[in-house]
Amino acid sequence: MQDRVAEGRTRSAAQRPRKHLKNDILLVGQPNVGKSVLFSHLTGVRTIASNYPGTTVSYAMGRMRGKGSTLIVMDAPGTYSLEPLDEAARVTVDLIDDAKRIINVVDSTHLERHLPMTLELIAQKKPMVVALNMSDEARHRGIGIDVERLSAELGVPIVPIVALSGEGVKQLVDTCLDLQPQQPPILNQSGHPGHHPHIQHPSQAGNGSASAGHVHLDRDRIWQRVGELVERVQTLEHHHHSFTERLEEISIHPLWGSLFALVVISLSFSLVRLIGEFLIAGAVGIVGAPWVELPFGTELLFDKVLQPPLMRLSALLGPGSFLHRLFIGTLVDGRIDFMQSFGILTSGIFIPLGVVLPYLLSFYFVLSLLEDSGYLPRLAVFLDSFMHRIGLHGYAIIPTLLGLGCNVPGIMATRILESRRQRFITATLISVAVPCAALQAMIIGLLGRRGIGPVLVVYGTLFVVWLLISLILRFTSREFQPELLVEIPPYRLPSARALAAKMWLRISGFVREALPIILTAIVAVNVLYQLDLFTYLAKFAEPVVTRVWGMPSEAVVPLLVGMLRKDVALGLFAALMLTSKQMIIGSVVLAMFFPCVATFVVLFRELGFKGGLKSIGIMLLAVFLTGGALNLIL
């Protein structure tokens, strides 16, 4: 959901519509240098920024006012070099072609790693300014940079900034706007012509590779030049090992690191559950003692505040009428059950706001903490050997974790994986076996009433399915699996402001996009029941639903609704008064069966038509077998 930020103007790397690439200012830099944070500052468009390489997988476009005109600013995905190594980075190269001015964002704490690309960019002869980001962190770590000297050596203006706080951003903008469009900056003003990196044109032979008319520099010369530059402009002070550095040591240690990973993961899951339960059920749900009952939690709120007026409305409409069915739904024991009544004003509001929203808040809070602290790449490194054994890549854990929130951004994030095949497998696994937070909220809310056992059976089954599908897919291809090679960012204390902005973006995305679909689904359900269409549908699906999965034939309606919203669908299962076994099978089948519309669209967009069909085929086979197996075993 949240990747469609920037007001729906981000585009998939696969599409690359050339004519839309014109931009006034392009942000270019290596992964994880803070381009997205700077972009938000410049344009006011909020984007998702985190502390791991590969957060921005497509480009974002925004507008900025400056010098009396509106300028188009683009945020390119991070790339290490103009020789693009993955799909997302290829986009950047195209964007550079059409850029009027470039802001090259550089990490001040790792100058020697970032300057090679700066030299490559200078060789493209576009008006350019270098933003030395994280200059506060550089100071803190005892790294001194002679900005004037570096600027003179490179022949481009340089502005130190702190993108997170906005320090220096205004000066950066002014400097950028002062650049004369289309006048190439003069290379190397320092009067050492011998220090020019050799410019090698594509037609020339040698180790500079050619693509799309880009100027490529001799690699060895670049590194040599960067070495000289850094020696001249950078001073390092020794400093004591800080607490975060100790933590960094622990978290990559073979033994302590695995314990650390175990603690982080279990803590994260319990925290999500704890905060979610607290928001829904209040303190009672957590402590389990009646004497700490607080007037808190969405359950209590809905029951105390909305029950009385809605009961009056119910009496007014008269139970049994179509309008009653539509707005209130069916009464349970003469009262409104917000989970099961299924009217627009009852479950239609309670499911998204009372159950799913608290859980989403809790999930995204914990996920954002993990993202911004810099732990996720370490987890990927730790799980790499396990993931390789089941045919995946360590980095596949990041899209998968995102998928636990919402499958849509999860599947989009598979672009950080290098091979098409890895992308296909990871995206398919997410759509089939990774339940989104909305569905999980309902599973915990409804199945949790019958004890923790059934909930664990559902999660366990989905995990086994995830494992089996990846193992089976592994044996269908002997294609070489690319190995892990990834930069591990330093730990950083998550900034409260960035965290809040990111959560707001993700949550408002849910309210804006999911709420209308939920209400539509509930109207559709009631119309379906009213017209008695489901008996016809039930007959059609009976062989599988009843015979193989052991569900009542009415279960076909929730399964259909699941294509719109899975959370609403599970609520419908609850209204069917199923046995625990049927509820477990229903939850698993629903989690695996056709992904919701949004996921469906993204799946086909990311995998292409053929890939999408293949993925759906795998899903159908898997759900048929899993439901049947559960029916036999349980």
Binding site: Y80, R113, H253, G257, V381, F382, D384, S385, H388, L485
Partner: protein
């Protein structure tokens, strides 16, 4: 003494002598600063054939075991 990066002990330092891989691998490693002549510090080798973690140019980089076995370093 020349060793493969996989044979280096955690805590040891070394200088990259050769990268015995194809162009694609060379270019991926180069983008993270791993070039011939570069000094590095091995921090950790994860269990079960997991990646090797090195510090290069003050940045931590995780390298898959197979790739690490193609990097020759001089140490001691």
């Amino acid at each position: 003494m020349e060793k493969l990066l996989t044979e280096l002990k955690p805590g040891d330092q070394g200088t990259v002598v050769a990268i015995k891989g194809g162009r694609g691998m060379q270019s991926r490693l180069r983008s993270l600063g791993l070039v011939e002549g570069q000094t590095l510090h091995k921090l950790s080798a994860l269990a079960w054939g997991g990646p090797v973690v090195v510090e290069v140019k003050r940045t931590q980089v995780a390298i898959g075991r197979g790739m690490a076995a193609k990097i020759l370093v001089r140490c001691g």
